[in-house]
Symmetry: C2
Subunit: 394 residues, 2 copies
């Protein structure tokens, strides 16, 4: 595939079952956007949806829109849509807060669900925030300790003292994917819970939380879900944990009767107990528009195209080895939906690419990262981007 | 003033220095909106501002807008504007998360700043969430206890075991205001911190956190600040506490170098360490537009008109006593910017009023609450609303 021509990949685009989805996004001219894994682009429908929320729902409906326009129901409604992308039940996902805050809430709940166990187990070199949030909880709970081990020894490190195994499903830098089913099973054998950070996998690949038997997860709305900058995040809590799990952040919207204004805190039934403050209506509306767009697509075609985009990119720049070292596992089932290269002068190369209209990410110290987002990324995009990268790295 | 005529109050409106501000809001026809203390109405400029953020900053700027459009700087920038409304330095306020989450962060910080002290002191019957959040922290920290006492015994209850005094500045139901300076001084004499919930006072009255020597505060963006449904909240941390205070929610945006992706958590210098997740850009943009509008007004005129609106409302319905019992203190310096009545059939009366286009709130068990928001509420509005209330309650 290294020798494939631009004319050939244009043929692939013509036969791509997802080729029309690209027109649903407001992509600027002159830009090849390979950063949808960091901030998804604007779906055209989002602008109209937000304008309506602002002018009609807020402007005219005012306070009445909490009920009449479904604002209060939005966290559960949008969560139920995300559930379809991650193999969860509609009543197992809710939209709230940020990924970091949701991590804290679920970690706090997990520790309380496993009294007597003291270890929050994670891996060395995962997404730093996951670890930082766990360490923040540790500062409150001195009996808890955060233990980080190399990825290859995770399974061995799970033991009877492990309260929860906290892992990024797909690594933010390398794109490497953990075997969710195997690690969840290993944790459960030891009586531990699992908490998966799906920030780089929700909307990027087929995720099956229920199939893996996973107990808890969090994820991000502004990457592959195209929910807009700083979109609210989501959390997943499996049905069998919902009756027992309690959020340490006892905000009013997680109360069984928020408008009862009782002095006594009584958590809502089910996953709404993990809501905290007033739902962020504007962010929820944009997120819903992004998810609605993704749900119109043939998801099997999305996952399949992601793999083909990856293979095209990897093969096209293979000749630049060893200067460009592929950091992402080449096997489709071992990765997410971005491609990363290690390159000594990555910090210099990425600005050059951006100057040419090819937008990816530099991740320190030496990584070039390109998101592969099948709804709007064409084979031609990848051909041209890999060409530009070859030029810069030659 | 009970006998003032509609013609007379129309004259007051003509002479009102704030009369033009009303046109800056997109108020629907046929509605007298006395619920700006629950959800502020839409400033006309907000729709255009949001459309630009969506179409240009997100749609065209994409990931580059984090720097180029000032998205990353927005929490501190908007916080600095709120600071001008609450008597704080520009580097003492930041916009983040929800009020509930901010309460948790500051309570967690306060407890750590006062080791050995075990009491989170609050009052009976305050805003329930304040207490619920404190009790959520207590569930994590068994050595801490939440103590709620009647308002009149707060000063006596502050002692050497009090870590922090947590109070709503203005009560959500009655509108009664605490003496911030006196209670803060009393807390400081005992070595305790103070945490003020300004949800019903920021933008509603002259708040002077620095003048009172207050250490911590939180507040809401979607009430008197007109920031939109579920707008992000703010938190205040006085300069002298910033070096020592640590957020228990160690999210990546509170890190000294969020894009360094270090395994080691190092809090940012100053108040940005109390940020957690990725800034909610859409919500921040709407909030900033609301605050910008308020900052164009003569604030002294706002506070003065609030008092006059109250007096008009109270005097007009005084004849309906005892059926309508004024719950709010009549003295301007003892209240916020809403008026509340106790009424046995409040739950029936409010829907009648809403049916006539007069929108206020019912608060269980028996309270009618009307927001007085001088930027867009006219004397005529209050005259007509009090007239409608008199009809319903006669």
């Amino acid at each position: 595939m290294a020798d494939v021509t631009l004319a050939e990949v244009r043929e692939w685009d013509k036969r791509d079952p997802l080729r029309e989805a690209r027109h649903a996004f407001a992509l600027p001219h002159g830009v090849i956007y390979l950063d949808g894994n960091s901030l998804g682009p604007l779906p055209r429908a989002t602008a109209a949806r937000l304008a309506d929320v602002v002018a009609r729902e807020w402007g005219v409906g005012l306070i009445r829109s909490w009920d009449d326009a479904g604002w209060m129901a939005a966290p559960a409604r949008v969560g139920g849509k995300i559930a379809r992308l991650i193999g969860a039940g509609a009543d197992e996902v809710i939209v709230a807060d940020s990924t970091s805050v949701n991590l804290f809430k679920l970690l706090g709940a997990a520790v309380a669900l496993r009294p007597g166990r003291t270890t929050l187990l994670t891996k060395d070199g995962g997404f730093p925030t996951d670890r930082h949030v766990a360490e923040g909880l540790q500062r409150l709970l001195p009996h808890v300790r955060v233990v980080a081990v190399p990825a290859y020894s995770l399974t061995d490190a799970i033991d009877g003292d492990t309260a929860v195994l906290l892992l990024c499903h797909v690594h933010f830098r390398s794109g490497a994917r953990h075997d969710m089913a195997a690690l969840t099973a290993a944790a459960h054998r030891a009586g531990a819970l699992t908490l998966w950070d799906l920030s780089h996998s929700a909307g990027a690949l087929a995720v099956d939380l229920n199939g893996a038997g996973a107990g808890m997860a969090v994820g991000c709305g502004y990457k592959f879900l195209n929910g807009g900058p700083g979109a609210p995040a989501f959390l997943y809590l499996s049905r069998n944990l919902q009756a027992e799990a309690r959020s340490p952040l006892q905000g009013w919207i997680g109360h069984a009767a928020p408008f009862g204004f009782s002095d006594r805190y009584e958590p809502a039934a089910g996953i709404p107990r993990f809501l905290t403050g007033t739902p962020p209506v504007l962010g929820l509306a944009a997120l819903e528009a992004g998810i609605d767009l993704m749900l119109t697509a043939d998801l099997a075609a999305v996952w399949e195209k992601s793999a083909r985009l990856f293979d095209l990119f990897a093969s096209r720049v293979a000749s630049a080895r060893p200067r460009l070292e592929l950091l992402t596992p080449p096997e489709a089932n071992l990765r997410g939906s971005h491609i990363a290269f290690r390159c000594a002068d990555a910090a210099q190369i990425m600005p050059q690419l951006v100057g040419q209209g090819v937008i990816g990410d530099f991740r320190p110290p030496d990584v070039l990262r390109f998101g592969l987002t099948p709804l709007f990324t064409s084979f031609e995009d990848v051909w041209l981007a890999s060409d530009a990268l070859l030029q810069c790295a030659s």
